[in-house]
Symmetry: C2
Subunit: 244 residues, 2 copies
């Protein structure tokens, strides 16, 4: 009945050991042997259509998910029915870490395009320690990185101006896309202005104006959701100059 059920849980056999995201995803820096152990834990894939939820807040925690293809946003409810976007996730990134603590999800995860995730079922995570110490530590590392990421978002939200936030947002996106082999000078945004605004703590009109401003200054070229980066160093200077 839930939106979750409407997605198709295709029971494809997964193999981290043969995945082209190895270097970016769960297996990063793991030994060959450890990756094979991981294969036993990550056992199936799941498709999520654009607009659908992978999970919703308050839903029981069933496991972690690694994005295989596609693009997600996570958001927390504001109490009055609206949401604040807390992150955007692309291939190789992990969703659901918020749910481990209370065995219940703290945010919604919505696909911004047709996507596919690899599933790490909660009950299999019990096997982690039995499987190998290296694997268990891997999860601690992944969570630690998420904490560091959130620290940097707090920095952004707490101390940057609108233009600086947008510049930092674009640089972060292109850096992650570049690590995945995409162009670092051109981004196709998968989210709307309103979602960027929610993530950056700004209104959609302010995002729009910031894009226009950065374009006027020759740092980027905006064509709808297609952003061309003209001056990466200039954007970086803008971010660095924050709070001076």
């Amino acid at each position: 009945m839930s939106e979750l059920n409407r997605s198709s849980p295709s029971d494809l056999k997964v193999a981290c050991s043969g995945c082209n995201l190895r270097e970016l995803c769960l297996p990063f820096a793991l030994s060959e042997a450890d990756v094979e152990r991981l294969d036993n834990i990550v056992s199936l894939r799941k498709n999520v259509a654009r607009g659908q939820a992978l999970f919703r807040h308050d839903a029981p925690f069933l496991g972690l998910y690694a994005v295989r293809t596609g693009f997600f946003k996570t958001s927390v409810p504001t109490g009055d029915g609206r949401d604040q976007v807390t992150g955007f996730q692309m291939a190789g990134e992990v969703l659901g870490l918020d749910g481990l603590g209370q065995e219940r999800h703290a945010c919604d995860a919505i696909a911004l395009e047709d996507s596919q995730v690899c599933v790490i079922p909660y009950e299999r995570m019990e096997d982690l320690s039995r499987e190998f110490a290296g694997l268990q530590k891997q999860f601690l590392k992944i969570m630690s990185r998420e904490i560091v990421r959130e620290n940097s978002v707090m920095l952004l939200l707490g101390s940057m101006k609108a233009d600086e936030r947008v510049a930092a947002f674009l640089l972060n996106l292109t850096k992650r896309l570049q690590a995945r082999g995409f162009s670092s000078s051109s981004v196709l945004l998968r989210m709307k202005r309103e979602e960027i605004g929610s993530y950056l703590g700004l209104k959609l009109e302010t995002i729009s104006r910031a894009f226009s401003k950065l374009q006027e200054d020759g740092l980027i070229v905006v064509d709808q959701r297609e952003i061309e980066i003209r001056d990466t160093a200039g954007l970086q200077r803008l971010v660095n100059s924050a709070n001076c």
Copy 2:
């Protein structure tokens, strides 16, 4: 030579099993047997004087710390030498989770009063999986909770007005103090207005004005760093009404 060295690493023998913070700290919800295993991992205490750093960003990650007595702040550098405060930690709370991922700390941890922490040395964490599956999962849970906490700070920074942020801050503090057996109607702030402002993404003058405003409205009474909560429900309404 570092400030770290100037703190006195008193080699007291620690026993989680006999600690009065059991229910709030690392051992929460662990079995008697697991807590005894934890005793083998948490092996010493360390004093940190007011104003000193427990660790600094970029320093090698040596282990996790559980606050035993005292009060800390964590902050990340903004790039221009200044810092943004990312959290305040009191007895039973864990410091250093940010360092696991890169084996290097991402933030500074500074004592706001003379404090004592229990040390979980990094090399001992290797023993976690050998010791017991329950223990390893405990750390994942603690990290997950930190992620959820940071989510809620992002929500605060991204979508609340000054008064609402301050109200949320006070409610959060009193809730945590109450869980530790302190009065929920009176708080002695351990940090200055500037640090609250940094944490909440506001300037110190705005914090001062927000306190005055909440006092005018009869919700609190302010006397320097001593805050008396007069109307918890009123503060809660203010927080809930955010974004309406």
